[in-house]
């Protein structure tokens, strides 16, 4: 380490490590410790139970669909917010962070009320036999809501930093606007776009509060994995809850590694 004239390195690093260990690392380590005490047969029996598998498929499947929809609209929203001007643009820009600031339980009951058969949105779809609340579509809607800001917020700074000269060069060489967008601009945005998608997906997989109200929680059909963990905990089946949680945590950490790699790619792309 380079010697520095600044004081307090040992104090602040020591405090940082101690606080991190007590608040985050020790509590998180209890999960693998507990899992190690669960007999292997019981562990595999729990995570291959059809009801548990159905919950993984729903949590991952609905998160994937929600992240795709967010990727599509997030790109449009980010583009419009950076490139076009219209009245109220700044308010709309601030509003994008609402899903970060609004408690998930509030989002949950509000979306459920809107989508219920007698709700503002639900009653419009009721005559056509379309049901949202208490179906997988409802789960996906809640996950779109909570993942909405990620794609917009990862794309915005990259679109802002787009070099006008590249577009000018392509245009002066005779490319049509459509070609400039699809061949020049979009490839430049891919890493950030993928990062936003992955962040949105990762957040959705573990989401609980906004989903439990709208899902209806029917076993095998609309029951998400985090809810199954809570159900097991309430039955004092800590071994079962731990087994499900270990699988979910592994997925989260895999996503964390992927996202870190994607962000490295974004940084290199933007810097180079």
């Amino acid at each position: 380490m380079k010697r520095s004239v600044l004081p307090g390195f040992k104090l602040t690093l020591g405090y940082t490590l101690a606080y991190l260990t007590v608040i985050v690392l020790i509590p998180l380590l209890t999960l693998p410790l507990k899992a190690a005490s669960v007999p292997w047969e019981q562990f595999t029996a729990t995570i291959t139970d059809p009801r548990v598998i159905a919950s993984y498929r729903l949590s991952i499947g609905a998160s994937f669909v929600a992240a795709c929809i967010n990727a599509f609209f997030g790109l449009i929203v980010a583009w419009v917010l950076v490139r076009y001007s219209f009245p109220g643009r700044r308010i709309v820009d601030s509003l994008v962070d609402l899903p970060f600031a609004l408690p998930t339980a509030v989002a949950g009951i509000t979306l459920t009320t809107l989508c219920a058969p007698n709700g503002w949105v639900g009653q419009l779809l009721e005559p056509y036999g379309i049901k949202i609340a208490f179906t997988r579509v409802g789960v996906t809607i809640a996950l779109i809501f909570i993942g909405l800001p990620f794609v917009v917020r990862t794309l915005q700074p990259v679109i802002e930093d787009l070099d006008v000269e590249i577009e000018e060069a392509a245009t002066s060489l005779g490319a049509t606007r459509l070609k400039v967008v699809t061949r020049v601009i979009l490839p430049y945005l891919y890493p950030a776009w993928l990062t936003g998608f992955a962040l949105s997906f990762a957040r959705a997989v573990g989401e609980y509060g906004s989903v439990v109200f709208i899902s209806g929680n029917m076993p095998m059909r609309t029951e998400i994995s985090p809810l199954l963990i809570i159900t097991k905990l309430e039955q004092f089946d800590y071994a079962g809850a731990t087994a499900i949680a270990v699988v979910m945590l592994s997925i989260s950490f895999a996503m964390l590694l992927i996202i870190n790699a994607l962000q490295g790619w974004t940084t290199r792309r933007v810097a180079g």
Binding site: L6, F9, T16, V24, L28, F73, S85, P103, V106, L227
Partner: protein, 299 residues
């Protein structure tokens, strides 16, 4: 690298190339470098329609449902003793979580941004860990640790400490989920400020704390506040983690979000939305303060 999962509310590195706003908004662009007018209208319409449906509609619905029966019932639902007790517990949890994570965030920022040491990137990634963990698992680990069958369960019982299904568990879970917010805002702001000013202060004879309070803090105060306001919003609004550790005893271990759930599940919709409207107001205030702070951070 090391930015970790969830760019929650991270201050975007705004471009500085064009004065008065991000580079090349449509007005300042030649026609060839933007889309045809029809396409622009279509895209703007799509974007606003999507945001209107997914953000503005729910935001409006909260207040409409809360005031469904007029102001009288609204005030009654908010003033009801269980709601007041829940509000107090929510404020208490935030009163522990925000200062604790604020002190941690500034200490971590100082160590990580002002010095170079091996494992620095790993440490930054570890700080973001709580964002990668499902809220339900965040609460569950404390049950595994301090619950009756837990690793420290018998120790807690011997000392007559009730941690899970009691207030300390709620405070711990709240601290856990709101852990990274201040640190991840302060680290980039401190890095951007560099170390020259502090070095100059030290050479001129300032003490360590004097240097921090007179030189560093004025440079990072908006970043610290920005992190603190996001930390507070998460602390007051946390549902999943707190739900697992609370035990949901009315008037005792119920926070505002948990109280909303109980009322809703008892079909007391208007009361549920009245309490939810308090949390929604908190969210709106958070967004306003956040927007103001972003402008200060970029000016």
């Amino acid at each position: 690298m090391g930015a970790g999962v969830a760019a929650v509310g991270r201050v975007p590195p705004k471009s500085t190339s064009v004065e008065g706003g991000p580079a090349g908004r449509v007005a300042s662009r030649p026609r060839k470098l933007t889309e045809p007018r029809l396409v622009r209208w279509l895209l703007t319409g799509l974007a606003l329609g999507f945001l209107g449906l997914f953000l503005l509609l729910p935001l409006t619905a909260v207040f409409v449902e809360a005031l469904r029966n007029g102001f009288g019932p609204y005030l009654d639902s908010v003033r009801e003793p269980d709601a007041v007790a829940a509000l107090k517990l929510t404020l208490l949890a935030a009163a522990f979580a925000v200062p604790a994570n604020l002190i941690f965030g500034v200490a971590a920022g100082w160590a990580i941004a002002k010095f170079r040491f091996p494992g620095r990137t790993l440490l930054t990634t570890l700080i973001d860990l709580p964002f990668a963990v499902s809220p339900v698992i965040s609460g569950m680990v404390f049950v595994l640790l301090f619950g009756r069958q837990g690793l420290l369960g018998s120790w807690a019982a011997d000392h007559d400490l009730r941690i899970v299904f009691a207030v300390p568990g709620i405070v711990l879970a709240t601290i856990f989920v709101s852990f990274p917010f201040v640190a991840r805002e302060v680290i980039p702001v401190m890095e951007a400020a560099g170390t020259q000013e502090e070095e100059a202060a030290r050479v001129l004879g300032a003490g360590g704390f004097q240097t921090f309070f007179r030189v560093t803090l004025p440079n990072i105060k908006w970043g610290v506040l920005y992190g603190a306001i996001l930390c507070n919003a998460r602390a007051m609004g946390e549902f999943g983690a707190v739900s697992v550790v609370s035990g949901k005893i009315r008037g005792e271990t119920n926070t505002l979000p948990l109280h909303v759930e109980i009322l809703y599940n008892e079909y007391m919709f208007q009361a549920a939305f009245a309490v939810a409207s308090l949390l929604t107001l908190l969210a709106v205030v958070t967004l306003i303060v956040k927007t103001i702070l972003e402008r200060k951070l970029h000016s």
